[in-house]
């Protein structure tokens, strides 16, 4: 790692003031930042350690939802009894990610901000528009087995690697952010970006802004939801394709549906068109297959990832079937 200055923030205000200096990075769990600093991909000259700010609690909200502190650890979030009982899809998604050690370190805010695992992004000897804007994309025409099938651009075909974020997208969470200009909230769907011609920006967070919490709405779809992750080995690997599926079912008929995919796009991929198409239909394999067709209607493969389209189709149907209760009415 290159040398840097280190400062521990005692108060939110200190962190915000220090964080708006250029060349400064926040560090929480460090599990993504230090990985990338060791690879020389990120080179901050000052680190502001926010890990001891009192933003690590999980609290009930007046509307019946739950507020997840940005600095609550992924493990503590997944094992929180309220998350387990009211948002089991979220608990499952978190526990499908990384390893127990990493989940003990990783924070919820850091998980939202983690960078892509595209191999060219990590390899400073290759071109990458996300790492070095304007240098080109090593993955287009290179090895792109793990890359996007939806929402990609001629500049970047990377995918967002998070599991937790796929469940948050399906739950329609809200991100709470504080910056030099005060506090604001961002709907989850507007937090991560598609690459367009500025793939260096993963999110709509502005420089100096700190995530303080993630709010979950009251509806957790606890009775009929699941998170399905498909990967190259049984554990401790990133998703090739993952699906967060949630249904509100009334007598075999779907009242409301939520569907989001991971491993397929530059952001957690929630498809409200497919959700609308599920509503009012019987919870049957035919209905689920139709929804999968809608999600993948514009899917486009690159040289090595065509398998993801079929995989995603089957994963969507399986996840929705499992969410419905494994019953095939």
């Amino acid at each position: 790692m290159r040398p840097f200055r280190y400062a521990r923030a005692a108060h939110l205000d200190d962190a915000i003031a220090a964080g708006s200096e250029s060349g400064t990075a926040f560090v929480a769990g460090g599990t993504n930042l230090f990985d990338l600093m060791k690879a020389d991909v990120l080179r901050p000259d000052t680190l502001v350690d926010v890990s001891r700010l009192p933003l690590d609690t999980i609290d009930d909200t007046p509307d019946g939802g739950l507020r997840l502190g940005a600095l609550a650890r992924n493990a503590d979030t997944a094992y929180d009894p309220r998350v387990q009982s009211r948002y089991p899809m979220l608990a499952r998604a978190i526990l499908a990610g990384a390893s127990p050690q990493l989940r003990n370190m990783a924070t919820n805010g850091g998980n939202l901000m983690q960078r892509t695992r595209c191999y060219y992004f990590y390899d400073t000897a290759t071109p990458c528009n996300k790492r070095a804007p304007g240098s080109g994309c090593g993955a287009i025409g290179g090895v792109n087995r793990i890359h996007a099938i939806l929402g990609a651009s001629p500049s970047c075909i990377a995918v967002h690697p998070s599991d937790l974020c796929v469940a948050l997208a399906a739950l329609a969470a809200t991100v709470r952010v504080t910056g030099p200009d005060g506090e604001r909230t961002v709907p989850f769907a507007a937090f991560h970006r598609l690459p367009g011609d500025t793939p260096e920006r993963d999110t709509t967070l502005e420089p100096g802004e700190l995530i303080t919490a993630i709010d979950l709405p009251p509806q957790g779809f606890a009775a009929h939801s699941t998170y399905l992750k498909v990967r190259d080995r049984a554990s401790y690997a990133f998703a090739l394709v993952s699906v967060a599926a949630a249904l509100d079912i009334d007598g075999g008929t779907i009242r409301e549906a939520r569907l989001a995919l991971g491993g397929v796009a530059h952001k957690p991929w929630r498809d409200s068109g497919a959700e609308a198409a599920l509503a009012g239909k019987p919870a049957t394999p035919a209905t689920f297959a139709e929804a999968a067709g809608i999600v993948l209607r514009d899917a486009r493969a690159h040289d090595h990832n065509a398998f993801k389209i079929g995989l995603a189709r089957r994963a969507i149907v399986r996840a929705l079937t499992e969410a419905a209760g494994g019953k095939h009415p």
């Binding site: 290159r2 040398p3 840097f4 060349g23 599990t31 901050p44 960078r115």
Partner: protein, 175 residues
């Protein structure tokens, strides 16, 4: 914070910072560069070379230690970030000459070959027991998946952890 902080300022001089940790029960104060990982602090500055460096990127678990009783990867945190906390390494598992029950079980179950991953496996297993989430062998496999063993000693590792879990369940007294 920009997505890719790339500094235009010159690198700061390597000014050492003072870090105080309780390591295996003893308070230790170090003067180290702020970018020293907890792993390097243990191995290079405290001569506690039991904790291993496998990948240095969070991918293998060889560097697993317990901080305030919880297992973490020492390669992906800074020593200075752990200021004031209590660190247990493989050297701190035994009580004097009495091996930790997990260490005895690893020997009894032939849970290692070259032994390079073993300190991390032991600390991770200690963390797993403290977390209390594992019930079945499949749970043990899943919750030990952050520790890679290139020798493939996995069956012995699962058996060793299982045997300690079983003994605790029958004895009722946690080692």
């Amino acid at each position: 914070m920009p997505d890719s902080p790339r500094s235009t300022r010159p690198a700061p001089p390597p000014e050492p910072v003072a870090v105080t940790l309780t390591v295996n029960g003893a308070e230790r104060t170090l003067k180290i560069a702020p970018w020293t990982s907890l792993l390097d602090a243990l191995r290079l500055h405290l001569d506690l070379t039991g904790t291993k460096k496998g990948c240095d990127h969070g991918q293998c678990g060889a560097c697993t230690v317990l901080v305030d009783g919880r297992r973490i990867n020492a390669c992906l945190t800074l020593a200075v970030m752990q200021e004031g906390r209590s660190v247990t390494t493989v050297e701190g598992l035994a009580r004097g000459d009495a091996l930790h029950p997990l260490q005895e079980a690893f020997i009894a179950c032939d849970a290692l070959q070259c032994g390079y991953c073993t300190p991390g496996q032991l600390c991770s297993a200690a963390g797993l027991l403290a977390e209390g989430k594992a019930r079945s062998d499949d749970d043990i496999r899943e919750l030990m998946s952050g520790n890679i063993c290139r020798c493939g000693a996995y069956p012995g590792i699962v058996a060793a952890i299982r045997s300690v879990m079983n003994r605790r369940a029958t004895d009722g007294d946690a080692p």
